[in-house]
Symmetry: none
Subunit: 205 residues, 4 copies
DNA sequence: TTTTAAACGAGACGGTACGTCCTGTCTTGCT
DNA sequence: AGCAAGACAGGACGTACCGTCTCGTTTAAAA
């Protein structure tokens, strides 16, 4: 689904009201802000197309023209936010990078507004396979790349074996975090993420 | 939410139409079956109180009398099913028990109808904190006990140290499974669950 | 259209909110009053289902449950009003009765609120053959009977020949009135209706 | 509303897309044909500005530039057609001329496409006083002149008294026809129009 | 037995949001 | 300057469910 994120490509200059050169940037931004605000203020059930339209000062039809559903609006809003967070720093040291990244991930998922959007999207994905596919393609695949970055750097450095099963390793590292966030609701403190890193590295000795 | 699961206690004998002493078992069963059917056939969005009532041949009011919401009906239906599956067998051997239990869990979550109910409930829990609390209290806590059973038995047998952090261990073992099921949508074959067990046990040597 | 006007038959007693004994009289009355008010205040285009619902304090669904369209609501309202007016008095004298009836008819059509409803319905009938058929069956046929009443009484009295073409005679008498009301928009003063009566009776001498 | 009918005066040459020399005749014709087609095919409710624009291959703005509303387009289309029909022939004989004219009028109103347009316009006039005024000024006044033509010729010939109330006479002759067409929906056969003429002339003997 | 009160089926009610359609206005680039 | 194209804010449409509320019936414990 590209219409949400490529508005800047289509529109050459202005964000005025309707014209033949594509969508209004003003409307797009207003919608994305409105959807974020509504989700945080009223929860997922409080996010309605009518509510977004009213809050953004936009016509419903304008929303339907560019987004197939409210979750696609949320995904659009999420993509804008996600890249800003969660790019693991290159510290030259696997353990440090993993500790930093996992604790940041836990914080992002549990404490930030985009994290709340993520949880809502992950929730909705359970109800709608098509949406789940879009969610994975647009949001999760990028995230997955970032999650594996410390490991791939360590492999390049020779700190991890070249035949490491990356998929499995990433699942082991971040799986328990998502499990706590999405299933048990337990807190995910640094002590927990550090322990995950410890046990992941220990067995390699 | 207790009224859903204790109906059998209140009703003395029959499940015919109105009576002055407790709820109709006929109605309860019809509702639980209808909700399961609808979820599997039409997905979570296709589960509506009106639809359940029509399918079960029951009045809406009867549903509202006994369940606060459609997710509570689903939880009621889920509880009935869950216990049947997923009780790990006592095989006297940690590795075997873990392999068996984790692969059964993966199968339950991804391939069975109650698994679909679970995913729907887990999804809805992301949108509704109150419901999430009920979900954890009624469904997950039991499951959590079962998940830790092989480890606790191993501790009793002396195969695992007494000071083992059970919570962390369970999270490491089942977290990646739930992560695949709820987030990435990747399949969860026995090869994957076996690998989880391997790596969990390896470092103990 | 019968569901609108036979509510009193179906509902045995109360006008409370929903019950199994048919529709709420309170809602029905509120809708009919709202539709009349809106037509007079804002014209036909200002009559909307949403506006009626809001004004009557009624849910849209309740309106759709009982009336197929807004014109059917207007017809229902019109039927209630029409009978009150326009029953020609029995004065024992053809000329007097005709003069009275035609001038009353003209006044009804041009100066009263139900007359405005009639004009709106007659207008809509031009756009919708099905509605036109309902309109004729429910509203006009009764009116037609009243219009011919003075002539039929005169025939009974022997003041008019028994083989009089009633249809033609009524068309000649009231046709020009409706023509002015619906087509030319000219006023229809008593001088005009009296002249119609004169010319109708003159040729019989 | 004059902009619709004087286009031919302004445009000097072509009807291509945008040009700097007044309106496009191509667009005007396409719109008038589209509106006629749509009215006949889908009825008045099926006539929308968007539909006309799509069918005529014309931009909505072009329509709004030249016509204030869809009924004005219909009036424009109607004026073109009306003059062609309904000019009563000069037969030198009042009765013949009246018989011919009234039966042609009845046929025009009930059986022709322009007649359908007329009925739609007359219907809409009931809902919109401003439009009714335009309708009378642009369409009906001409028609009224034609309707009275046989009578005026007869007065000139001395076949009718010079002090004849022309308005009343015309109303008596055509009123019943319009009444049947617009109100009762009864057919208007020659037998009916002939009877109207008979009775109109009889009383003069 | 007869009474009687709780639970039942049915379904109308006031609402909210849905997704669609059309309105009339606007801006742009082409002819 | 007029045009085709089409995005825009707005608003009504008719539908689907929500959760609440009578109704009149069914039922079995209490009287």
């Amino acid at each position: 689904m590209g219409e949400g994120s490529d508005g800047g490509v289509v529109v050459p200059r202005t964000g005025h009201h309707g014209n033949r050169h594509g969508r209004s940037q003003r409307a797009r931004q207003a919608v994305l802000e409105a959807v974020d605000d509504l989700l945080v203020e009223r929860g997922f059930a409080g996010v309605t197309i009518e509510g977004i339209a009213a809050r953004a000062g936009v016509a419903k039809q304008t929303i339907y023209r560019w987004w197939p559903s409210k979750v696609d609006i949320l995904m659009d809003a999420f993509v804008d936010d996600m890249a800003q967070h969660l790019t693991p720093p290159d510290q030259g040291d696997l353990e440090s990078e993993l500790r930093t990244h996992l604790s940041r991930l836990a914080d992002f998922l549990t404490r930030t507004d985009p994290g709340a959007v993520f949880r809502a999207l992950a929730g909705q994905a359970q109800h709608d396979p098509d949406m789940a596919a879009r969610f994975r393609a647009e949001c999760l695949s990028q995230q997955r790349v970032l999650d594996s970055l410390p490991l791939r750097r360590a492999v390049e450095r020779g700190d991890l074996p070249a035949d490491l099963d990356l998929d499995l390793a990433v699942d082991q590292l971040v799986g328990p975090i998502y499990y706590r966030v999405l299933v048990t609701g337990q807190p995910v403190p640094p002590a927990f993420t550090d322990a995950l890193v410890d046990r992941f590295l220990t067995r390699r000795d």
